[in-house]
């Protein structure tokens, strides 16, 4: 068993292999992970919208030991990741970290947001630091406005 505690280091090895195959290979994998994550998120997000997203990431905050601030507003949800355990483990690793490790997160969340009709603004800030800011909006105009403030804006397959 690769312990669940070490999943991200396994993930990192998968990313490095796929990156060598090409960008499309990496994107197809993110989409596969996104489909996997639909089991945990899709119905909740469809039924409860931003409140459902808050509930999901509050659960993740606890279970994945994240230093994460969640702020639910009427028109958006903000996730401020102060210390990301996923990238932290990949950096604290005897294997070499994949340089674009952070990209997978928008790679699976983005397609789900597109499916449920919300708009994701994913600011990774710096791929070498385990922190990021994510904002999710119902209103596309507000999301586009927020994108202007991002320091390193993430993309994902089929972004709407």
């Amino acid at each position: 068993m690769i312990p669940s505690d070490h999943f991200t280091r396994f993930y990192n090895e998968v990313f490095k292999f796929l990156e060598k195959q090409g960008e499309e290979d990496l994107k197809k994998y993110w989409l596969e992970i996104s489909k996997n994550q639909e089991k945990h998120t899709l119905e909740l997000f469809k039924e409860k919208g931003l409140q459902g997203m808050y509930e999901y990431w509050d659960h993740i905050r606890i279970e994945e030991n994240c230093d994460l601030d969640l702020k639910l507003e009427e028109d958006n949800l903000e996730l401020k990741m102060n210390v990301c355990p996923s990238l932290s483990k990949v950096l604290d690793n005897d294997a070499e970290p994949m340089k674009r490790y952070c990209d997978h997160c928008a790679g699976w969340i983005g397609p789900i947001m597109d499916k449920v009709g919300y708009h994701l603004v994913y600011d990774v800030i710096d791929r070498n630091q385990p922190r990021c800011v994510v904002k999710i909006f119902k209103d596309k105009k507000k999301a586009l406005e927020e994108e202007k403030n991002a320091r390193l804006l993430m993309d994902w397959p089929g972004k709407k």
Binding site: V14, E64, A95
Partner: protein
């Protein structure tokens, strides 16, 4: 006797355990095998064994196989598995009566990849590769296995 809070482990996670990661591992195994074949999947596990677990490998290389026992104790404990570890000179046996990783995936998706346990078999083989020891993994049944590290003959 194995230290249940070893300070010597390279990776010594604390806090909560996110078992759903095993579901993502199962998805990954199916994806990689379908698109690239089983040899590619095994090569990735080999990288995990050689690179991610380089520290355990280094200890085994120098004859300290207890480090693997500490690793097993720490992480199978954290995952709430039903297991036992028997330590003899030059041989350690981990018997997993109930693998919570396998059970969790079965609960999540119903059908566990037939190659799910390759993560154990192939990663173990890679950790031992090039050392005076071998690690054999015997699948005893669904969610149950025996992992044995012993000196090569």
């Amino acid at each position: 006797m194995i230290d249940k809070n070893p300070i010597s482990l390279r990776y010594r996670d604390k806090g909560n355990v996110h078992m759903d990661f095993h579901g993502a591992t199962n998805t990954t195994i199916n994806f990689i095998i379908e698109k690239y074949g089983i040899e590619t999947m095994n090569d990735i596990f080999k990288k995990v064994g050689n690179d991610v677990y380089a520290d355990i490998k280094k200890h085994i290389q120098s004859g300290n196989i207890n480090m693997l026992a500490e690793h097993w104790q720490h992480f199978f404990d954290r995952e709430g598995a039903d297991f036992s570890i028997s330590i003899k000179e030059n041989e350690i046996i981990l018997t997993v009566k109930r693998c919570t990783a396998y059970e969790h995936v079965k609960k999540l998706v119903g059908k566990v990849s037939p190659n799910f346990c390759d993560q154990t078999i192939k990663t173990n083989e890679a950790i031992a590769e090039g050392t005076p020891y071998e690690i054999k993994t015997e699948i005893l049944g669904e969610a149950s296995c025996k992992q044995i590290i012993r000196k090569r003959l």
